[in-house]
């Protein structure tokens, strides 16, 4: 906290002394003023970005869960699907975005697809890792009691995977916001990315800084939300020794 205060202090000093041209680096004071003045507009844009992020993230969650279960159940699907999943992760999001716009237009579809691609892999890896974390002794016990695969999945593998799942979700939530913003750069009628492009084109860098702060805060709130949901979903956690 003190460190951040020092950075802001130095930043303010640099601007006051005129070491950097004002249009290149607005002072913290100007950024705060822009933030306050533009907040209602930015909140409306945030809403649009959040809807896209939620749609992409939701789809990737469902898909990751389905694929993780299938890959856990069938060895050949794991061997066939894993390299493809890795491939989706190596494709640079920024490079694919224009193609998606070309194929799917300026509506919500290319944005949701981009976010989906960005979030799917971390979720899939988190779930597969989580299934692997199930206690082998417990799995044997269930088999010794003749439990079916679905029963083992529901009773053992999914609960054991929750820790890992929430770690993946934290990553995916921030990816989903960043992915939404990037996809909005390429066109659309609203969203934090669209706002960012507008203020950049009008050289309003105080607003540029303000919208970056808003984007970060939105991600932070979402990550915190995941923490809260995790604590509620895993009530036994608080008794376990670190």
């Amino acid at each position: 906290m003190a460190f951040i205060a020092i950075i802001i202090g130095v930043w303010e000093l640099v601007c006051r002394l005129g070491l950097v041209a004002e249009f290149m680096l607005p002072s913290p004071g100007k950024v705060v003023r822009a933030l306050v003045n533009e907040l209602p507009i930015m909140l409306e844009h945030s809403r649009i970005t959040l809807v896209e992020a939620a749609a992409g993230l939701g789809l990737s969650l469902v898909a990751a869960l389905v694929f993780a279960v299938l890959m856990d159940r069938f060895e050949f699907l794991y061997r066939a699907g894993y390299p493809i999943a890795v491939l989706t992760q190596t494709v640079p999001t920024v490079a694919v975005a224009p193609l998606l716009v070309l194929w799917f237009g300026y509506g919500i579809a290319p944005k949701v697809i981009l976010i989906f691609v960005a979030c799917f892999f971390p979720m899939l890896i988190a779930l597969l890792g989580g299934f692997g974390a199930a206690d082998p002794g417990v799995l044997r016990l269930y088999r010794s009691m003749n439990a079916s695969y679905l029963r083992i999945l529901w009773d053992v593998k999914l609960p054991y995977a929750m820790d890992s799942f929430f770690s993946g979700l934290r990553i995916s939530v921030s990816y989903s916001v960043v992915g939404a913003v990037i996809s909005e750069w390429l066109g659309g009628n609203g969203g934090l990315g669209v706002y960012m492009t507008r203020v950049r084109k009008s050289f309003a860098f105080d607003k540029m800084f303000a919208v970056i702060i808003v984007t970060s805060v939105v991600s932070l709130i979402l990550i915190k939300l995941v923490d809260i949901i995790q604590a509620m979903a895993m009530p036994w956690k608080k008794y376990e020794k670190k």
Partner: protein, 246 residues
Amino acid sequence: MSVLKAENLSKAYEGRTIISDISVHIEKGEMVSLLGVSGGGKTTLFNLLSGLEIPDSGRVLLGERVVTGESGLVGYMQQNDLLLPFKTIADNVIIPLLLRGEKKKAALERALPLFEEFGLSGLENYYPAQLSGGMRQRAALMRSFLFSSDVLLMDEPFSALDAITRGSMQNWFRSIVREHGLSTFFITHDVNEALLLSDRIYILGGRPGRITHEFTNSIPEGENPELTEEFLRNKIRITELINGEE
């Protein structure tokens, strides 16, 4: 008639024979233990008896029925309590009942009266992490008991506990087994534990593992049973039998 019987069981992994030609039997209400060094094939034998693995030769009988390689029939308890950390104690112990298709409400109604007897009353809604090692083993035993009251296979269930807790768990275990007329087959590498908890002791030795001796024991009664002359005599005798094999 034996509740559980194994005839001439042999098992090899990757060409190495682990146990060879093993025959054991457990009578109704009898406490039997299998005593042997670690890595001697004790757990392999249990995996065969519980149907988790299939023997290369020989067969397993439950009562009169041949059940070789059939899992889901015999209760199996291990060194680790294997309680699910995300389920409460009550939800943990009723797992076998739910797996058998019982409704949760009915299963709880059956299990709840047992909590008192297993020394777990008031802990129904606690998570395993909130309980001591001894308490968790009691819960694990209760789960095995709800799974099958015919015969319980136990693979060093108390070896992870500290010495004081182990002593009180052994006493408690003996009384609960006697009260319910349970038949138990108990793996251990501890001669004292075998003498405290068995009517009969099989000694597993050699490589590949086989039953080298069978020892009939009378479980000592009263305070400090480990200090009686008979107990010490038996202990010396068994130690000699084990060492004679080396």
